[in-house]
Structure formats: C-alpha cells, structure tokens
C-alpha cells in the first residue's frame, strides 16, 4: 500500500482533505476508535493485520506505508 493510498485512507477516516505524506494521524484529529478504522482499511486492501500500537509507532502515511511493506 503506497503513501498515496494510505493518505487516502486517512482522509476518508478523518473526514478532512488536508493530509500529506507526513501528517500525523493523531495530531490531525485521529483517536483510538478512528485508528481501528484505518487498520481495517489497511487489512482490506493488503491483507496485513496491524495492531493499534503499530499506528502509534508509525502515525504518518509515510511511516505506515513502510510498516505495511515490512509486514507483508
């Protein structure tokens, strides 16, 4: 899942348009409930099932995209 695709998921879940590759999900209004919806979207698209702590570690599209690639 590339950076653009992860950014698109952030936009959809956060319901905002201004997300770039280095936007921090939790700074942009994300919380634990919305985090699970990012992770379910990632799982749907890639089959990779990440945990909540993974998103805490990698809260930007850039970092999360790398994390997904590592886990795949």
């Amino acid at each position: 899942m590339n950076v653009d695709a992860v950014s698109a998921v952030f936009r959809e879940v956060l319901e905002i348009s201004e997300v770039n590759a280095d936007s921090d999900f939790f700074v942009m209004g994300g919380d634990s409930l919305l985090a699970t919806r990012v992770l379910s979207a990632v799982a749907r698209a890639t089959g990779v099932e990440l945990e909540f702590d993974d998103l805490l570690d990698a809260p930007t599209p850039n970092a999360l995209s790398k994390k997904i690639a590592e886990a795949a």
């Binding site: 409930l33 699970t36 919806r37 992770l39």
Partner: protein, 441 residues
C-alpha cells in the same frame, strides 16, 4: 398564558424557565420529593459530589453549555491520564489509554459497519429513513450476528452499545441504534472523552442544573405531586394530582414516554408514546469510594473494561478539588437488568469483589453507593427510553407533535442529542417556543 409543566427534570424546568421569561404563569408538578429527573447528586464526602445519573458533556452540547453559563456553573475535565485495566479475554491486562487489548482490525470492521448503518439514518425523522421498515424491524443483536464475523468484534459490540446507550442489543432495533449514535454526533464523538461527548463533567455535579433552575422558579415548582390525569376542554387543561386539580391554558408533559402514557389523557392522544417493545434504558451506576484516588499514584487512570459483569466499565469520577477517590462502575444492557434484580448485599459483594480483581493494588472501598435506574419508578430507565423493533415507525411521527393543548418535551422528543442532557434542554426550549408561538396573536 398559564402553563402546567409535568416533570421537574431538565426538559420541564428549561421549558418552565423560558415560559416565565415570556410572561407566562407556570406551575411545575413533580412526582418526586426532589427535582432533577435523571440527574442526581450523591455527596461522597462533605462538599464532594458525584453524579448518580447523567454526568458528561462536550463542546457540541451548546444548549447545555449556555445553560451552565447562565447558572454560573463550571466544568471539570473528565479524562484522567494513566493506564487502563482490561478483563476481556483474560484477567487484568494493563495497557496505556482506553483502547482494549482486542484485534484492532476486528474492532475497525465493527466501527466501519456501525458507521455505515449510522449514515443511512435520516436524523431529523428516522421513521422516514430509506429502508426504515427493514431497519426498524430487526434487532441490533441480529444485525451484529449478520455483520460482525470476528469473535473480538462480537465480544466488544454489546459492551460498546451498553456504554454508548445503555442498551441490550437484543431489545433495540437497528434503526434505534443507528439513530441514537447519529443523534449524539456519530460513533467517534459519542465514544470520545477528549474532543467528544465525555470531555467534561459539571464541577460539583450535574444535579445543580435543576436545583438552580428550580430555585429561580421558586414556589412555582411543587414537589410530591404526581400527575395522574390531563383532561382538555375548550378552555384549557386540567391536571389532576393527589392534592387536587391544577388548571392551565396549556400543558407540557416532560416525562419519559412510558410515564407519559401512564397519565389518563382525555381525549386520548391519536397515538401512544410507547409500546410493549419500548424498554427502559438499562443502567445501574455504582460508586466505590476510596480515601483518595489511590490508583493515580500507581499510574492507573481508573478506567477499566470487562467482558463479565457487573462492572462492565469503570471510570475515575473523583470530585475535583476534593480528597476522596471515586471509581464509578457502569452496569449496562442485559447485565443491568440481571444485577438490578439481586438483593442489595449481593450487589455490593459482587461489585467490591470485581473491583478487587481488577485493581488488586487497592484496599477495599470505604463506601459503596448504588443507583438503580432500571427500576426507578419516576424515570423507568436511564439514559433514555429504548425503542424496540417497530417502535420508530409507530411512535416517531407523534413524539413531538402537540396533542391539542398538551405539548411534549423530554430528551426522547429531541432528534438532536436524544438521550442526553443536551437533548432534554433543547426539547424544553422547543416546547416553550411552540406554546409561545400559539399564543402570539
């Protein structure tokens, strides 16, 4: 204009206050010996109050925020830093924040499904939702069985619904679930502490809202006067209480739907306000009092979530500026009905034993309080009435429609923030405006 208001909760007292401000004569008739409805204060130490009923608010609760300012009441943040305790698949796991140690992907799928069904609802008139008949005819339990595959989602769903709306999934329709979540601002807003519907508590307790409104209304508020009958004629309405008749040009009924139906209305309203499927909000609130918030020194927030009852969740509700530590335990949904039926000694024993398992570091509580809303005769449930299968289609169109000179208020008549203090206050403003409008030449 001379208005009889039935019920001295937030809705009735808000309506009465507005009507007095517009020059009406008002009499508020309250069945209990105290005002407050589903808000209630509990003094756990001298000057230290906790909420035995409604407690939380967020910034979207604009009518409540305005009322707080008018009454010179302040808020206090509800969230507490530290780790939570979770007894879901195993006993006593500790982890940072409020997030349960379950599959995040499974919970995400559950929230995706809830978000989808929540978006379908027409929030201002749920009975006009496309496909309303199907959504109204199915229970939330059946919906979950169809939509949630992962065991973690199935485990968490009833806990989530219990916490959000004090509902047993087997007894509410999907339409009511989706409407309730939408009405309160959506699943994220309703679930969140910071930036959500649990951002603050009211410093000193939510019961002060009604106490201060009632104090300003003075002897217009009459306690211990349950209204048994409302008879309308060409000139007005007569409310009958055990102490006799009270006459008005209009009446406001500001009690929950089941209790509104228990009044002898003549002529009868065109449609009932409840059906046999309409259930009580299933909440029992337990307060465990400690010498101080001891858990904070251990890096714990006091937050817990358990799959087994009675305390399905706990939260630190220690009075701000006080000495005592208070853990509030929420018993909700089907568990609340079972727990409410137990003898008092067993209720206490079960709650204290569970707190000891969740927080083995803590000494036993120095005091225990229990508020059973399920069997409360003058509320019949809390947070709010729960609409079962078929209810929205049958009851929805009439919920806020005046019946002659009788107007309806209460949080269940507000499609905005239904079930919350905010909904009650908005309904009070709405009903006062309705009556004033009718009386304007």
């Amino acid at each position: 204009m001379n208005v009889v208001v039935v019920g001295a909760g937030l809705a009735g007292l808000t309506a009465a206050t507005d009507l007095v401000a517009r020059g009406a004569e008002v009499t508020v008739l309250e069945a209990r010996e105290q005002v407050g409805g589903r808000t209630r204060g509990l003094e756990v130490e001298p000057g230290g109050w906790v909420d035995a009923g409604a407690a939380y608010l967020g910034e979207r609760h604009t009518a409540l925020t305005a009322l707080l300012a008018e009454l010179d009441l302040k808020t206090t943040p509800a969230s507490v830093a530290g780790a939570g305790r979770f007894a879901l698949r195993d006993e006593g796991r500790t982890r940072p924040g409020r997030f349960p140690p379950l599959s995040a992907v499974a919970l995400g799928e559950m929230f995706d499904a809830l978000e989808e069904v929540t978006r379908l609802v027409r929030p201002d008139a749920p009975w006009l939702t496309q496909d309303a008949a199907r959504l109204d005819g199915v229970t939330a339990e059946r919906w979950a069985a169809e939509h949630l595959r992962h065991p973690d989602a199935r485990l968490f769903f009833p806990l989530f619904l219990g916490e959000m709306m004090a509902a047993d999934p087997a007894r509410v329709s999907v339409l009511h679930m989706a409407f309730y979540l939408r009405s309160g601002g959506g699943i994220r807003y309703l679930n969140a502490f910071e930036g959500g519907a649990q951002e603050w508590r009211i410093a000193g307790g939510a019961h002060q809202l009604c106490e201060r409104l009632a104090a300003a209304l003075g002897d217009r508020v009459r306690l211990g006067e349950p209204v048994r009958a409302l008879h309308q004629d060409a000139g007005g309405v007569t409310a009958t209480t055990p102490r006799g008749p009270v006459r008005g040009t209009h009446a406001v009924v500001a009690v929950p739907p089941v209790l509104a139906d228990a009044i002898d209305h003549r002529p009868g309203p065109p449609a009932p306000r409840s059906t046999p499927a309409t259930g009580p909000g299933c909440a029992v609130k337990v307060h465990l009092v400690y010498p101080s918030p001891l858990w904070r020194e251990l890096g714990l927030s006091g937050w817990s979530v358990s799959a087994e009852g009675p305390l399905l969740s706990t939260v630190d509700d220690s009075p701000a500026g006080g000495r005592a530590g208070v853990l509030t335990g929420f018993v909700t949904g089907g568990e609340a009905i079972r727990y409410a039926a137990l003898p008092a000694a067993e209720q206490r024993e079960l709650a204290v034993a569970q707190a000891a398992r969740l927080f083995p570091e803590l000494p036993p509580p120095i005091a225990f309080h229990l508020t059973d809303w399920v069997n409360e005769p003058h509320s019949r449930g809390c947070y709010a009435a729960l609409f079962g299968p078929g209810d929205w289609l049958r009851l929805g169109p009439g919920l806020a429609a005046p019946h002659g000179r009788v107007h309806w208020a209460g949080t269940e008549t507000s499609t905005e923030f239904f079930g919350l203090m905010e909904g009650a206050i908005r309904s009070g403003h709405r009903v006062a405006a309705e009556i004033t409008w009718r009386e304007t030449p």
